[in-house]
C-alpha cells in the first residue's frame, strides 16, 4: 500500500514537469520498489542529520524510458581509508551483481538531501561527468525529512542540454552564460518517475493491508510546522546571504569594467588626436600599441555559483510553498474537525 501511495504522489509531481523534457533520451523513469526501499534503508542506516548518503543506480534504457532496477550504496568515507578506490569498488560491485544475474548497467546515482538542499557545484560536476559518459544518466534525490513527514519524496534530475554545453566549454563567465541564455530555471530538468512493482508484490501488499491493523502514527497529519519552516528559512537565509555577496562582487566587477572602458576610450581618443596632430605636422603616426596589454580587463567573477544558488533558492522556495500549502490544508481540516466536535 505504501508503494502505491508513493507512486501516486510521485506521479503527480512527475506530471507537472513533463513539459520541459523534449529532446532528451529519457522521458520517463521507472523505478523498482526495491530500489526505493534500498535507498531509504541506506539513509536510515548511515545518514544522520545533514549528512548525505550516495549510491549507484543500475538499470537499463527501454525506448525513452529509463528503468532503474537495482542500486548499491557507496560506502561511507572515513579518515582511515583515504586510499579507498571508489572506481575499483564500483567495478567489483557490478561484477558481483552480474554474477547473480542482476542488471549491471550503470544508469546514474542517487543522493539524499537535507531540507531540499542539493543544488551545489559538487552535484553539478558529478552529474555532468555521469551524463557525459553515460548519456541517459540521472540523479535521484531522496529527501528523508519529507518522507518522514508522511510522503515519499524522490525526484530524478538531469542536466539540460544547454547546461551540458556550458559545462563542456567550462565557460562560466557572465558573457558566456549570457550567450547561452541560461537561467536557473533551465539548469535541471526533472524527469517524471513511476514506481513499479511486480504483480506478485502488489498482491502481497494487498494481503498485508488487509491483515495489518491501522497504523498508530499518522505523520501525515502532524500539525506542527514551525520547526520545519524555521529550518528551511534558516537555510534560505544563508543562501540569500551568499547571493548578496555574489551580487556585490559582480557589482564591483562591472563597475571596474566600465571604469576601465572609459579609460580605454579616453586613451584612444587622445591617441587619435595626437596622431591627427602629428599627421598635420608631417610626422609619422605613433605606433599602435596593444591596448589589451595596457588595460588588463578585471577578472570576471564566475557566475555559475550564483546560478546554482539561485537554483537552490528556487528549490527552497518550492519546498516551503509546498509544505505550507499542505500544512494550511491540514490546519483547515483540523479546524473543521474541531468545529464539528
Amino acid at each position: 500500500m505504501a508503494s502505491r501511495k508513493e507512486s501516486s504522489s510521485v506521479s503527480s509531481t512527475a506530471m507537472a514537469s513533463t513539459g520541459g523534457t523534449l529532446d532528451s533520451p529519457v522521458k520517463q523513469i521507472q523505478i523498482e520498489g526495491l530500489v526505493v526501499l534500498k535507498i531509504i534503508k541506506h539513509y536510515q542506516e548511515e545518514g544522520q542529520g545533514s549528512e548525505v548518503v550516495q549510491g549507484v543506480l543500475l538499470g537499463l534504457v527501454v525506448d525513452d524510458r529509463l528503468e532503474i532496477t537495482n542500486c548499491f550504496p557507496f560506502p561511507q568515507h572515513t579518515e582511515d581509508d583515504a586510499d579507498f578506490d571508489e572506481v575499483q569498488y564500483q567495478m567489483e560491485m557490478m561484477r558481483s551483481l552480474r554474477h547473480v544475474n542482476i542488471d549491471h548497467l550503470h544508469v546514474g546515482w542517487y543522493q539524499s538531501t537535507y531540507y531540499g538542499s542539493f543544488v551545489s557545484r559538487a552535484l553539478l560536476d558529478s552529474q555532468f561527468s555521469y551524463q557525459h559518459a553515460i548519456e541517459e544518466s540521472v540523479v535521484l534525490i531522496y529527501d528523508p525529512i519529507k518522507t518522514a513527514q508522511g510522503s515519499l519524496s524522490l525526484k530524478a534530475y538531469r542536466l539540460t542540454p544547454k547546461l551540458m554545453e556550458i559545462c563542456k566549454e567550462k565557460d562560466f563567465t557572465p558573457e558566456g552564460l549570457k550567450k547561452a541564455n541560461i537561467g536557473f530555471e533551465q539548469m535541471f530538468e526533472e524527469v517524471p518517475i513511476v514506481i513499479k512493482n511486480s504483480h506478485l508484490i502488489n498482491v502481497l501488499m494487498w494481503e498485508l493491508e488487509d491483515k495489518s491493523t491501522v497504523a498508530d502514527k499518522h505523520e501525515l497529519l502532524n500539525l506542527s510546522s514551525s520547526n520545519h519552516l524555521e529550518k528551511s528559512l534558516q537555510l534560505l537565509m544563508d543562501r540569500v546571504d551568499d547571493m548578496s555577496q555574489d551580487i556585490v562582487k559582480y557589482n564591483t566587477y562591472s563597475r571596474n569594467l566600465s571604469k576601465q572602458q572609459q579609460q580605454k576610450h579616453q586613451y584612444l581618443q587622445r591617441r587619435q588626436q595626437e596622431n591627427a596632430q602629428r599627421q598635420s605636422r608631417g610626422e609619422p603616426p605613433l605606433p599602435e600599441e596593444d591596448i589589451s596589454k595596457l588595460f588588463k580587463p578585471p577578472q570576471p567573477p564566475p557566475r555559475m555559483d550564483t546560478l546554482l544558488i539561485a537554483g537552490q533558492i528556487n528549490n527552497y522556495c518550492q519546498n516551503v510553498k509546498e509544505f505550507t500549502s499542505q500544512n494550511l490544508g491540514k490546519l483547515f481540516m483540523a479546524e473543521a474537525l474541531q468545529g464539528h466536535n
Binding site: 514551525s226 534558516q234 537565509m237 540569500v240 548578496s244 551580487i247 559582480y250 563597475r255
Partner: protein, 926 residues
C-alpha cells in the same frame, strides 16, 4: 692645597730673598711637576660654567703655570705660557670689557715684570742659565714691557696697594680656581694676628700637624704673605716674617678688624682656646669641622709633599679662628662653597656640613636673618642636590634634615616680616646685611617646598608599601602638610597670585584623596560625648570640603596656567566623589569639558583624570546610579589596563614595547601606595554594575539578532565561567559575580543576593566603603528590581496574566514599586502587557514575535538587502549604457529614478514589517 704651595713659593722667589732658592729647587721641581699634573687633571674635570667663569679659569690656569715656571726659572716655558696667556686674554676680551681687567691678571703682570727685572739684574744667575733660557728671558722681558704699557695704571694701583686689590676682588673671581683662594678672607685676618706673635707658641698650641707639615717642607719656610691671597694658614704660620705685618696692619684696620686683632694680639693662644671651647659647646659639629679642616689642610699639605698624591677634591675650610665675621665675609664664604657645587669631585655631604657650620657662625655672630635665610636656602638646595640621580630618593636622615631646615626657614620668615624673598631678586640687589632696609634674599621658598613634596612622593614610591618603614615614612606626611600649610599662610600674605595658586595646588594635592572622617561623622550627627579629647581637637578644624572649595575656587578664578586649573578641577571632583557628593562632582566634570581634551594633557594629569573618573564611577555606584557608574568605569575597565591607567603599577610587558628608559619614566609617574584606589573594589563595582544592566538587557533581547553587548568585559567573565568544566562554589570576586549573574538570569534574586553580599564579598569589597551598610542596602534593592525585570522578560511568554501581589511577594518589593517598574517597562515598550487595575494583575499581550516570525523578519530584511544590491547592478548598467551609447534612453533612466523613490517608500514600509507592502513592491520591481 698644592696650588697654595706653588703660588706661595712663587711669591717667595719674587719678593723675599732668593738666597736659598737653589736648595729648594731640586726637590721642589719634582713635586711641582706632580702638582701641576694634578691641577690639570682637576681643571679638565670641571663642570662647565658661565662664560666668565670659564674664561677666568683659563686665565688663572695659565697664570699658575707661569708662576710655576717662574719658580724654577724656566724662562722658555715662561715665555711660551705668557704668549698663550696674552692670547687667552684677548679671547676673553668681551668679558673683560664688561667686568674690568681681572686683578689677578694685573698682579701677574706686575709680578712677572718685577721678577724678570730681578733676574736681569742678577748677572751671575744669568750666566748660569743655558742659552735657551737666556734668550727667552730677554724676549720675555721686552714683551712684557711692551705689554704692560697698556695696563700701566692698573699695575701702578696694584703696586701701591697689592693687598687690597687682592682682597676685594680676587675672592670673587678666583674661587673658580678650585679653592686655592677659598680661605683667602680668613687668611688675611689670620695672618694679621699671626704675624704679630712668635711662631713657636702658635705652633705649639695649635695645629701641630700643620706645623709639622710646614716644618718638613723646607720650601715653604720662606713663603711670604705679602700678596698672598692664596696661601694657607699652615704655611703662613711657619713661613711668617715680619715684613708684611705692617702693611697688614694698616689694611686690617681698614677692614674694621682692629678690635679683634688687638685683643688677640695680646693674648693670642688663650683667646683661641677659649674660642674653640665656646664653639665646642655651642656646636660640636662646627668644631669638628674646623679641626678637621685644619687638620686636613695641614695633613693634606704634608701628604702632598711626601707622596705627591693629587688631591682632587676641594678642602672645606671655615674661617680662621678669630676672623671677624661679618655679612660680606659670610657671603663670600657662601659663594665659595657654592662654587664647588655640581663639580665632580665635590663631597656633597661635606658641603652640607659646611653650610650648616656657616649658618651656625652667622647665627652666632648675629649677622641678621637675611644671611641666615640665604644660607638656609642653600642648605636645602644642596640637600636636594645630594642625589645626583633623579630617580634616587633621599635617605631618611637627609629627609629629616630637609624638613627641619624648611621648618626653620619658615620660622624665620614668619618671625621677620621684613624679609623679602623671591626668585626674581637679582644676586647683586640682595640685601643681606642688617640695616634699616628690609632684607632682600634671592631664593624661592615655594620651589623648595614643591621640591620637598616631590621628594616625599619619591620616597613613598620607593618604599615597600607593606613594610613598617612605609608607615613610618607616611607619618611624615603630617609634617609635609604642615609645611605646606604654613607656606600657604605665608604666601597668602606675601606671594603673588601665581605663587598662591601653586601653593594652593600643593595643598589640594595633599587633601583631595583623603576621606574626611570627622566631617563624615559630623554629618551623621555622631560627634560629641564619646570622642576623646584629641578627637575633638581634630574635629575643630575646617572641613576638608570647605577648604577644597575655597582653594579650588581661588584657582579657578585666578590661575592663568591651564595645568594648575585642570589639576584643581580634577582634585575637586575627586574629593566630591569621595565624599559622595555625586551631583556636584558630575556637574563639575561636565562643566569642565575635560573629557573632550584630556588626551592632550601630560601623563600625570591623565592619570589624575583616570583616578577621578574611577572615583566618580564608584561614587555613582554608591548612590545607586548604576548606569552612570558603568559609563564612568567603562573606559578604564574595558582596556584591561586599569592598573597602568591609574598609575598604580606597571604591567608586565616585553622589552620591545618599552625599554628601560621608558620604564623608569613610568615608574616615576606611579602614585604612592597610600593614594591607591583598590583595584578589586573597582572591578567589582564595574562588574556588578554591568551585571545589573546586562542581565535584564540580555533577557529582553534574547532573539534580537542585532543585540549589542553593553559590557565586553562582563561577557568575557561569563564566558570564562561557562568554560569551567567543573563548577565549584565561587571563590574569587569574579566568580561570585558570575554566579550571581546566572542566578539573576533565572530571576532568582535570593541566590543572586547571597552571591553578591556575603562574608567573603564583604571583607573583600563592600566593607571598604565608608557607608558599607547603606551601599549593601542599595545593592539588595537593585538586585530585587533588576531580577524582577529579568523575570518578566524571560517568562512573560509563559503567563497570560500575573498578579502583582505575587510578584511583590516573590521579589519582596512593595506593591507600588512593582507597579512602577512594570509601568515603566510597559511605557518603554519592553513588555507587551497592560495593567488591570481592579484585580492588580498584569495581562500579557503576546505580541512578541515567535522565533519563526523573527526568522521571517530577518529573511525579509536580508531580501531587502539583496534587492538593493541587485538594484545597484542594474543601476550601473543603466548608467553606463545610458551615458555611453543610448543617450536618448533618458526615459528609462528617469523611470529608474522614480523607481528609486518607490524603493525608499518600500524601505519605509519594510521597516514597519508590512508584508503586503513588501510584496507589492517586489512585484513592482520585477
Amino acid at each position: 692645597m698644592s696650588r697654595f704651595f706653588a703660588t706661595g713659593s712663587d711669591s717667595e722667589s719674587e719678593e723675599s730673598s732668593s738666597a736659598d732658592e737653589i736648595t729648594p729647587k731640586a726637590p721642589g721641581a719634582t713635586f711641582k711637576q706632580s702638582l701641576l699634573l694634578s691641577d690639570d687633571e682637576e681643571d679638565t674635570k670641571r663642570v662647565v660654567r658661565s662664560a666668565k667663569d670659564k674664561r677666568f679659569e683659563e686665565l688663572t690656569n695659565l697664570i699658575k703655570t707661569i708662576r710655576n715656571a717662574m719658580k724654577i726659572r724656566d724662562m722658555s716655558k715662561c715665555l711660551e705660557e705668557f704668549e698663550q696667556l696674552c692670547r687667552a686674554f684677548l679671547k676673553s676680551k668681551n668679558i673683560v670689557d664688561k667686568e674690568g681687567v681681572p686683578p689677578f691678571y694685573i698682579r701677574l703682570l706686575a709680578d712677572l715684570e718685577d721678577y724678570l727685572n730681578q733676574l736681569w739684574e742678577d748677572k751671575e744667575g744669568k750666566k748660569k742659565m743655558n742659552k735657551n733660557n737666556a734668550k727667552a728671558l730677554s724676549t720675555l722681558r721686552q714683551k712684557i714691557r711692551k705689554y704692560n704699557r697698556d695696563f700701566e695704571s692698573e699695575i701702578a694701583a696694584y703696586k701701591e696697594n697689592p693687598q687690597e686689590s687682592a682682597d676685594e676682588e680676587e675672592e670673587e673671581k678666583e674661587p673658580e680656581d678650585s679653592g686655592s683662594s677659598s680661605d683667602s678672607e680668613g687668611e688675611v685676618s689670620s695672618k694679621s694676628f699671626l704675624k704679630k706673635k712668635p711662631e713657636a707658641p702658635s705652633e705649639a698650641t695649635k695645629f701641630l700637624k700643620s706645623a709639622k707639615g710646614s716644618g718638613d717642607e723646607s720650601s715653604s719656610s720662606d713663603e711670604d704673605d705679602d700678596d698672598d691671597d692664596d696661601e694657607d694658614w699652615g704655611s703662613d704660620q711657619s713661613g711668617s716674617s715680619g715684613e708684611t705685618s705692617d702693611k697688614e696692619e694698616g689694611k686690617t684696620s681698614s677692614m674694621s678688624m682692629l678690635f679683634l686683632k688687638k685683643s688677640q694680639d695680646t693674648e693670642k693662644p688663650g683667646v683661641r682656646k677659649e674660642e674653640r671651647k665656646k664653639k665646642l659647646k655651642q656646636k660640636e659639629r662646627i668644631e669638628e669641622e674646623a679641626e678637621e679642616e685644619g687638620g686636613e689642610e695641614a695633613g693634606g699639605g704634608w701628604e702632598k709633599v711626601k707622596g705627591g698624591v693629587p688631591l682632587v677634591k676641594e678642602k672645606p675650610k671655615m674661617f680662621a679662628k678669630g676672623t671677624e665675621i661679618n655679612t660680606a665675609v659670610v657671603v663670600k664664604k657662601l659663594n665659595e662653597i657654592l662654587q664647588a657645587r655640581g663639580k665632580k669631585g665635590t663631597d656633597r655631604a661635606a658641603q652640607i656640613e659646611l653650610f650648616h657650620a656657616l649658618a651656625a657662625i652667622a647665627a652666632e655672630n648675629n649677622l641678621g636673618q637675611g644671611i641666615l635665610v640665604k644660607i638656609k636656602f642653600n642648605i636645602i638646595a644642596s640637600l636636594y642636590d645630594y642625589n645626583p640621580n633623579l630617580a634616587a630618593f633621599m635617605k631618611p636622615d637627609m629627609w629629616k634634615k630637609c624638613l627641619d631646615c624648611i621648618d626653620e626657614l619658615l620660622d624665620i620668615l614668619f618671625e621677620h616680616n621684613n624679609i623679602f624673598i623671591g626668585e626674581n631678586i637679582a644676586e647683586d640687589s640682595e640685601n643681606l646685611a642688617v640695616s634699616d632696609q628690609p632684607f632682600r634674599v634671592r631664593g624661592c621658598i615655594l620651589t623648595l617646598v614643591e621640591r620637598m613634596d616631590e621628594e616625599f612622593t619619591k620616597i613613598m614610591q620607593n618604599t615597600d608599601p607593606h613594610s613598617q618603614e612605609y608607615v613610618d615614612n607616611l607619618k611624615d606626611e603630617g609634617r609635609v602638610c604642615g609645611i605646606v600649610d604654613r607656606l600657604l599662610t605665608y604666601m597668602e600674605n606675601k606671594g603673588s597670585t601665581e605663587e598662591i595658586c601653586r601653593v594652593y595646588l600643593r595643598r589640594i594635592m595633599h587633601t583631595y584623596y583623603k576621606f574626611d572622617y570627622k566631617a563624615h561623622r559630623r554629618s551623621l550627627g555622631l560627634q560629641g560625648e564619646t570622642k576623646s579629647e584629641q578627637d575633638q581637637e581634630e574635629s575643630e578644624g575646617e572641613d576638608s570640603a570647605v577648604i577644597m572649595d575655597r582653594l579650588c575656587k581661588f584657582i579657578y578664578a585666578k590661575d592663568r596656567t591651564d595645568r594648575i586649573r585642570t589639576c584643581a578641577i580634577l582634585c575637586h571632583i575627586y574629593h566630591h566623589a569621595l565624599h559622595s557628593r555625586w551631583y556636584q562632582a558630575r556637574d563639575l566634570m561636565l562643566m569642565s569639558h575635560l573629557q573632550d581634551n584630556i588626551q592632550h594633557a601630560d601623563p600625570p594629569v591623565q592619570i589624575l583624570y583616570n583616578r577621578t573618573m574611577v572615583q566618580l564611577g564608584i561614587c555613582a555606584f554608591r548612590q545607586g546610579m548604576i548606569k552612570d557608574a558603568h559609563n564612568a568605569l567603562l573606559d578604564i575597565q574595558s582596556s584591561g589596563r586599569a592598573k597602568e591607567l591609574l598609575g598604580q603599577g606597571l604591567l608586565m610587558r616585553n622589552m620591545q614595547e618599552r625599554n628601560a628608559e621608558q620604564e623608569k619614566i613610568e615608574k616615576r609617574r606611579q602614585v604612592p601606595f597610600h593614594m591607591h584606589i583598590n583595584l578589586e573594589l573597582l572591578e567589582c563595582v564595574y562588574l556588578v554594575s554591568a551585571m545589573l544592566l546586562e542581565i535584564p538587557y540580555m533577557a529582553a533581547h534574547e532573539f534580537d539578532a542585532r543585540r549589542r553587548m553593553i559590557s565586553k568585559q562582563f561577557h568575557h567573565q561569563l564566558r570564562v565561567g561557562e568554560r569551567q568544566p567543573l563548577l565549584g562554589p565561587p571563590e574569587s570576586m569574579r566568580e561570585h559575580v558570575v554566579a550571581a549573574s546566572k542566578a539573576m538570569k533565572m530571576g532568582d534574586w535570593r541566590t543572586c543576593h547571597s552571591f553578591i553580599i556575603n562574608e567573603k564579598m564583604n571583607s573583600k569589597v563592600w566593607d571598604l566603603f565608608p557607608e558599607a551598610q547603606r551601599v549593601r542596602e542599595m545593592l539588595v534593592r537593585k538586585i530585587q528590581e533588576e531580577s524582577l525585570r529579568t523575570y518578566l522578560f524571560t517568562y512573560s511568554s509563559v503567563y497570560d496574566s500575573i498578579s502583582m501581589a505575587t510578584l511583590s511577594e516573590m521579589f519582596e518589593l512593595e506593591m507600588p514599586t512593582v507597579h512602577s517598574i512594570i509601568s515603566k517597562m510597559i511605557i518603554n515598550e519592553e513588555l507587551m502587557a497592560s495593567l488591570d487595575q481592579p484585580t492588580q494583575t498584569v495581562v500579557m499581550h503576546r505580541t512578541e514575535p515567535t522565533s519563526l516570525q523573527n526568522m521571517a523578519l530577518q529573511l525579509a530584511e536580508k531580501l531587502g538587502n539583496l534587492v538593493e544590491n541587485n538594484e545597484r547592478v542594474f543601476d550601473l548598467k543603466q548608467g553606463v549604457y545610458g551615458g555611453y551609447f543610448n543617450r536618448d534612453q533618458k526615459g528609462g533612466y528617469q523611470q529608474k529614478q522614480s523607481y528609486q523613490r518607490d524603493q525608499k517608500s518600500y524601505q519605509q514600509k519594510q521597516s514597519g514589517y508590512q508584508r503586503g507592502g513588501y510584496r507589492n513592491q517586489n512585484q513592482g520591481n520585477y
